[in-house]
């Protein structure tokens, strides 16, 4: 007789025969059965077998299920038995997942990010804060939910087992990756953040403040980073407006001074209005448009010629000075804001990229100069700012060679990058970028977002091959080394298996796109509601976004080309021409498959050189468990970034550039190459420039130069610090005598705010001036 059973958690509960009958009936139903009577009879048989003559048995759930399987098989219900076993396995998996999720939550709650790798998955999220942890709860819970209920089981398994990696899986059902925001357009007539309306800005300070707000607002509508493709062009009108206002204000002062008037405003405004009417121009920052002469003529109606000239000189001098100052302050504020303003419930600062370099207007040039100088100066205590990512667009005839109008800014970009690691450099003359370039149309200048994403070609709408208002929808990476390991040197098998994985990724990207397409404008109050995304201004709040999303890209990525080649032929592309040829063949094949998918689905499929932050360790961890330690393949804790020559391999800068450049042409969804420089590049800008030029001449699309930036928070020294700080002589973790700091002018008295670097006269005296 069974009265009670023991549940999985050890508690006892009343025995119900119906529950067994139901389970059997469901398994039978899955095979088309409909005989509940039979199910009840079988359940009785199960109970009888369990009792097996004893008076009082208390079976466990597992024992009952084992018996159900036995009875089903014995009584000839093999197919039902199979279904029952499957159902049981599935339930077990779900149960284990729930347990695992709770374990993840436990670790998130009670372990610091130092002990918990999940909290450090993305270095720009502070996993130790309340909001950072909350974000992680959501993220980990969402991933398990999708795994169990949303994803195609085949995609889920491939992701789980590390064949592919679905990036930003936690946002699978929610939003898209990133966007290139056209601030110029956004600012026209003002905009709403969803929490309040902002007027069209009238001053460079408001332009920069609103730029930050736009980046922040859009960041909250998407899971990736935000980019401004035309920062110079976008801010230039702000400078022009600031100058006009400053010109009028200073003309008023001039009139008051030179005519000894109490209030010169009426006169100055009338002069400005007349001059504007006569010339059809306004006061311009660089002058030279005939406006000043018209103002002079009107001034001469009120004063003698010499005084009028003095008044005009005064007006221009201070208007220019105030405009420069306002622009510098605006750019300084922007850098500070982008490093401190919160996004995503305070867990992050917005992930921002600013592209600039090609606006040759005096206003645009001033914006770039000030932005770079503010970046060079650093944050409050001279720290290197982490955001925004600066991308300087290099273009022949615009800024690349001496004599080009923005050559001085290119030089400044290199000087700042040698100190602060930003700007990075993008190359508009690379053939695959140049094909879109139309002079006078900044929206056709290829730009890069965040780590490397590139969106410009548009198969969906070939008349809109532009960067503005577009971005990536989602991307998924293939574990290339895994395929190579499984190929055992058989190249044909490698390509066959690669094709299967590419098919899977295309399928998965399309499935995700289908979910994204069903979202409505109101789900993205800023991105779609404010018309930031291309063509979204034509939609109503309840319209679905599927059609306009087609301007975005669906992207396949890859990781570990170097390890792949090692596994296939024993050498990587940094050390062998044969490997380089095979590497190019592999990546070209992937690109061809993306182009085919583009043609087939009429959507923008592209190939990206995956940045792989969280992924760099994940794939290799799984592969080492599966295949053991393989030299040059799984023997490190990371797979090499995309097509990069391994970071550990000694190679000259120019050889590395030569080897990696051809992959830039193939990876139309984005790419970047890094060169690691030794020593302090600010001491050798010539070498720095040689490297940048080599990247450009090799046909790269996007490159950056890494060098160590260390800082001693005690004395404020920024540069390279080995064992001891070159400024104060302190060793890591040790103290430095106060007397020594006082001698260096770095310390005045106990707990004084002057502690830390506030200007070292000796160092400043040594600085070289690089005039613009």
């Amino acid at each position: 007789m069974i009265r009670e059973i023991i549940k999985r958690d050890g508690r006892r509960t009343a025995f119900e025969l119906d529950k067994i009958a139901n389970a059997i009936f469901k398994a039978a139903q899955a095979n088309g059965g409909s005989d509940y009577e039979m199910a009840t009879a079988l359940a009785r048989q199960v109970a009888a077998n369990l009792e097996a003559g004893s008076d009082e048995v208390v079976p466990t759930v597992e024992q009952i299920q084992d018996m159900v399987e036995k009875v089903l098989v014995k009584s000839g219900h093999a197919r039902t038995a199979k279904k029952f076993i499957l159902y049981r396995d599935e339930r077990t998996r779900v149960r284990e997942m729930n347990t695992r999720l709770m374990k993840v939550y436990e670790d998130l709650t009670f372990k610091s990010s130092l002990e918990n790798n999940i909290k450090r998955e993305n270095a720009n999220i502070d996993g130790d804060t309340a909001m950072g942890t909350m974000l992680k709860y959501g993220s980990e819970g969402a991933k398990q939910f999708y795994d169990m209920f949303i994803l195609d089981p085949e995609h889920a398994r491939a992701h789980r087992e590390g064949d592919i990696h679905i990036h930003d899986l936690d946002f699978l059902t929610l939003t898209t990756t990133c966007c290139q925001i056209d601030l110029l357009r956004l600012f026209q007539g003002g905009f709403s953040t969803g929490h309040g309306f902002l007027r069209e800005p009238n001053d460079i300070r408001s332009y920069s403040a609103l730029a930050c707000i736009a980046l922040q607002s859009n960041q909250n509508d998407q899971h990736g980073g935000q980019s401004v493709p035309n920062f110079d062009y976008s801010m230039a009108p702000g400078v022009a407006k600031t100058f006009r206002r400053a010109f009028t204000n200073n003309l008023t002062k001039a009139v008051e001074i030179y005519l000894e008037q109490e209030d010169g405003e009426l006169m100055s405004k009338s002069i400005i209005a007349q001059a504007e009417k006569e010339t059809g121009r306004t006061a311009a920052f660089a002058g030279g448009n005939g406006f000043d002469e018209a103002v002079l003529a009107h001034l001469e109606e009120h004063m003698d010629e010499a005084t009028a000239q003095k008044a005009l000189r005064f007006t221009r001098k201070y208007a220019v000075k105030e405009t420069r100052r306002a622009t510098y302050q605006a750019m300084e504020a922007l850098v500070h804001n982008l490093n401190t303003m919160h996004s995503r419930a305070g867990a992050q600062v917005p992930f921002t990229s600013l592209n600039y370099g090609t606006d040759v207007s005096p206003e645009g040039r001033l914006v770039m100069e000030c932005l770079m100088l503010a970046t060079e100066a650093g944050l409050g205590n001279g720290e290197t700012s982490i955001f925004p990512i600066h991308i300087f667009k290099v273009k022949e005839g615009v800024n690349y060679n001496p004599g080009d109008p923005n050559y001085d800014l290119f030089k400044l970009a290199m000087r700042v990058s040698a100190k602060r690691m930003f700007p990075n450099f993008s190359f508009l003359d690379a053939p695959f970028n140049a094909q879109y370039y139309k002079p006078g149309h900044p929206e056709t200048e290829a730009t890069y977002m965040g780590c490397r994403t590139r969106v410009i070609g548009n198969a969906y709408d070939p008349t809109r091959e532009i960067v503005n208002g577009r971005g990536n929808l989602s991307f998924t990476s293939i574990n290339l080394p895994r395929i190579a390991i499984r190929s055992h040197g058989d190249i044909d098998f490698f390509f066959e298996d690669l094709d299967r994985k590419i098919d899977l990724v295309i399928d998965q990207l399309l499935a995700r796109f289908k979910i994204q397409s069903q979202k409505k404008v109101r789900n993205y109050p800023f991105l779609m509601g404010e018309g930031v995304w291309l063509d979204s201004e034509k939609l109503d709040p309840d319209d679905t976004v599927g059609e306009v999303l087609k301007h975005g890209t669906l992207t396949c990525g890859f990781i570990g080309l170097a390890e792949t080649l090692k596994a296939l032929i024993g050498v990587h592309h940094g050390e062998s021409d044969e490997a380089q040829n095979l590497g190019l063949e592999i990546v070209k094949h992937m690109r061809d498959r993306m182009d085919e998918a583009t043609a087939k689905y009429h959507l923008n499929f592209s190939l990206i050189a995956t940045p792989a932050e969280g992924l760099s360790g994940r794939f290799v961890r799984i592969d080492r468990e599966k295949y053991g330690v393989i030299e040059g393949v799984t023997d490190r804790d990371y797979y090499t970034n995309s097509f990069h020559v391994p970071v550990y391999y000694p190679i000259s800068a120019f050889e590395k550039i030569r080897r990696e450049a051809p992959y830039h042409a193939l990876t139309n969804g984005g790419h970047i190459s890094y060169i690691e420089l030794d020593g302090d590049p600010t001491q050798n800008l010539e070498a720095f420039e040689t490297v940048v030029r080599a990247m450009k001449e090799a046909g790269m699309g996007y490159g950056a130069i890494n060098h160590p930036i260390d800082r001693d928070p005690i004395c404020g020294y920024t540069g390279i610090i080995g064992e001891t700080c070159p400024r104060c002589g302190r060793r890591e973790g040790e103290g430095v005598p106060i007397e020594k700091l006082q001698k260096l002018g770095l310390y005045r008295h106990l707990n004084s705010t002057t502690l830390g670097y506030h200007g070292d006269p000796n160092e400043e005296a040594d600085r070289q001036v690089n005039p613009l």
């Binding site: 780590c451 360790g617 490190r636 990371y638 550990y648 590395k656 050798n684 010539e686 260390d710 610090i721």
Partner: protein, 66 residues
């Protein structure tokens, strides 16, 4: 509020900075990170392995004296 560093005494000399490390800013995948503490395990290993690329035409160290 500015950060205050503790003043301690070592062998009768007043010092500041005990227990304070250096900040080391590195590029992670595309963006910079203010300290290596935030890197995940895989990226830490990768950063550790990075070697410098020689600019043979104009070595950085040579020209410093120039």
């Amino acid at each position: 509020m500015t950060k205050e560093f503790k003043v301690t005494e070592v062998d009768g000399v007043q010092v500041v900075g005990e227990g304070v490390g250096f900040e080391r800013i590195r590029r992670i995948t595309g963006y910079l990170v203010g300290t290596l503490d935030r890197f995940n395990n895989g990226k830490r290993a990768e950063e550790h392995d990075r070697v410098k690329h020689n600019v043979s035409c104009c070595s950085l160290t040579d020209s410093r004296s120039a």
